[in-house]
């Protein structure tokens, strides 16, 4: 006899009893999402109407001051090389990609990419810093600095509405080994509460965990303006938060572990439209 099957059945029965017994209980909110579709969806769906409205309108989006400040930096010559981002790439929305023919459009939809210099995945933040140190010969931005968050937002925004692509699951994809490690991380229980990402975001999307409605934990909105943070934050900040909430020791910003996880999450979210800069609770 398979015990798991029994307990799952019990849990299911329990859940329907809960539904029957608790209609009208204050604060009790059933999951309206699990039956809507089994496919992938963005955390936008479980955000409140007010939060969605902020994201829908750039004049209301509280992340825009960071992006505007970054747009100025984008045009400003900097570093020993005294060049700006625009000198090489053209305007952020220049689809021909300026002098070097490398447009910002599409970056947010396809990163993390494989970086032949380090033989590792590279995300937008790390690419920005590579351009700063290598081409501008300027100082790298700190990972979670206002400049970096704004610049990442500016770059990612150029892919708004584009579908996330990833072929990292193909055995001959250069990211494949990193994708695999990311997948292991995603399913590994950790922390004093002994939970894996999958326990919350794969097994329970749409469900309430106390007052929070769980989403699938997708990365298509990052960087994200969180009302709780009162500023935009990176995906790695979110990873650290989700780790600390279950009393697990977080990894560092830009660490290999989080880069693998980011590579894996991008794959999980393939097909989702890029939303940067999203707004969440």
């Amino acid at each position: 006899m398979n015990f798991k099957t029994i307990t799952t059945a019990v849990a299911l029965v329990g859940a329907s009893i809960a539904l029957a017994a608790c209609q009208g209980t204050a604060g009790y909110e059933p999951n309206p999402y699990d039956s809507m579709d089994g496919g992938i969806w963005s955390g936008y769906k479980t955000a409140s109407v007010e939060t969605q409205a902020m994201q829908n309108d750039d004049f209301e989006n509280p992340a825009m001051p960071w992006v505007d400040a970054a747009a100025e930096l984008y045009d400003k010559a900097d570093g020993e090389a005294n060049v700006s981002c625009a000198d090489c790439h053209g305007a952020p929305d220049d689809e021909t990609g300026g002098l070097k023919h490398i447009p910002m459009k599409g970056v947010g939809a396809s990163y993390p990419a494989f970086d032949p210099e380090t033989n590792k995945p590279i995300n937008i933040e790390m690419r920005i810093n590579q351009c700063r140190t290598k081409y501008q010969k300027a100082k790298a931005y700190k990972y979670e600095s206002d400049e970096m968050l704004g610049m990442t937002g500016l770059v990612a925004m150029q892919s708004r509405g584009m579908e996330r692509v990833s072929t990292a699951d193909f055995p001959d994809d250069k990211l494949n080994a990193f994708w695999k490690k990311g997948e292991e991380f995603y399913y590994q229980r950790r922390g004093q509460l002994d939970l894996a990402c999958s326990n919350c975001h794969e097994d329970n999307p749409g469900n309430m965990i106390r007052a929070e409605r769980l989403s699938q934990g997708q990365s298509n909105g990052f960087p994200t303006y969180r009302l709780k943070w009162q500023k935009p934050g990176s995906l790695h900040r979110r990873f650290r938060g989700c780790n600390k909430n279950i009393r697990a020791q977080p990894y560092g910003y830009g660490s290999d572990e989080y880069m693998n996880l980011e590579t894996y999450l991008a794959w999980r979210g393939r097909g989702l439209p890029i939303e940067a800069v999203s707004v969440r609770k």
């Binding site: 859940a15 017994a21 209980t25 004093q192 002994d194 020791q249």
Partner: protein, 150 residues
């Protein structure tokens, strides 16, 4: 299966001894698992149901409401990822409830429910290394409270 679990409990003990540096590590009491239950009280003392109710609500202790609906209407927002605990005291006996709290993975190794009286999980935040979420008496208090949910 049960042997393995006993060994894990012992391993947890060993870890608590070696890693926890000074900062009052929880001394895990020995308990015996019989048919996926723990028949004996962890402390030898009866639990206090009123205290148990406070602990299940407390967000840094049981925080059971994160996942369970319970007959505590004065608290807003009950989570839905776990079973409704209304009437659980009639469905399950004390020994099973104790097992559920101490280490529910013995009953269902795929469960989302944390083990409230166990150490040795992967990558525990430094300040919690070697510590259990609840102490033995708190487990007993919750068991006593759950038994009142008839």
């Amino acid at each position: 299966m049960k042997h393995a679990k006993l060994m894990t409990a012992a391993f947890g003990l060993a870890l608590a001894g070696t890693i926890a540096t000074g900062a009052q590590a929880a001394e895990l009491v020995n308990y015996k698992i019989v048919d996926e239950t723990i028949p004996q009280s962890l402390t030898g003392k009866p639990g206090d149901a009123a205290k148990g109710k406070k602990i299940v609500i407390h967000r840094k202790k049981g925080n059971c409401l994160a996942c369970h609906v319970m007959p505590i209407p004065e608290q807003q927002f009950h989570g839905l990822t776990g079973t409704d605990l209304n009437g659980v005291g009639s469905r399950l006996d004390e020994a099973t409830l104790r097992m559920r709290l101490v280490d529910p993975k013995v009953i269902n190794d795929g469960t989302m429910m944390p083990s409230f009286y166990k150490t040795g999980q992967h990558r525990v935040l430094k300040k919690f290394i070697g510590k259990t979420i609840l102490n033995a008496q708190e487990v007993e208090d919750i068991v006593a409270y759950l038994m009142t949910l008839k």
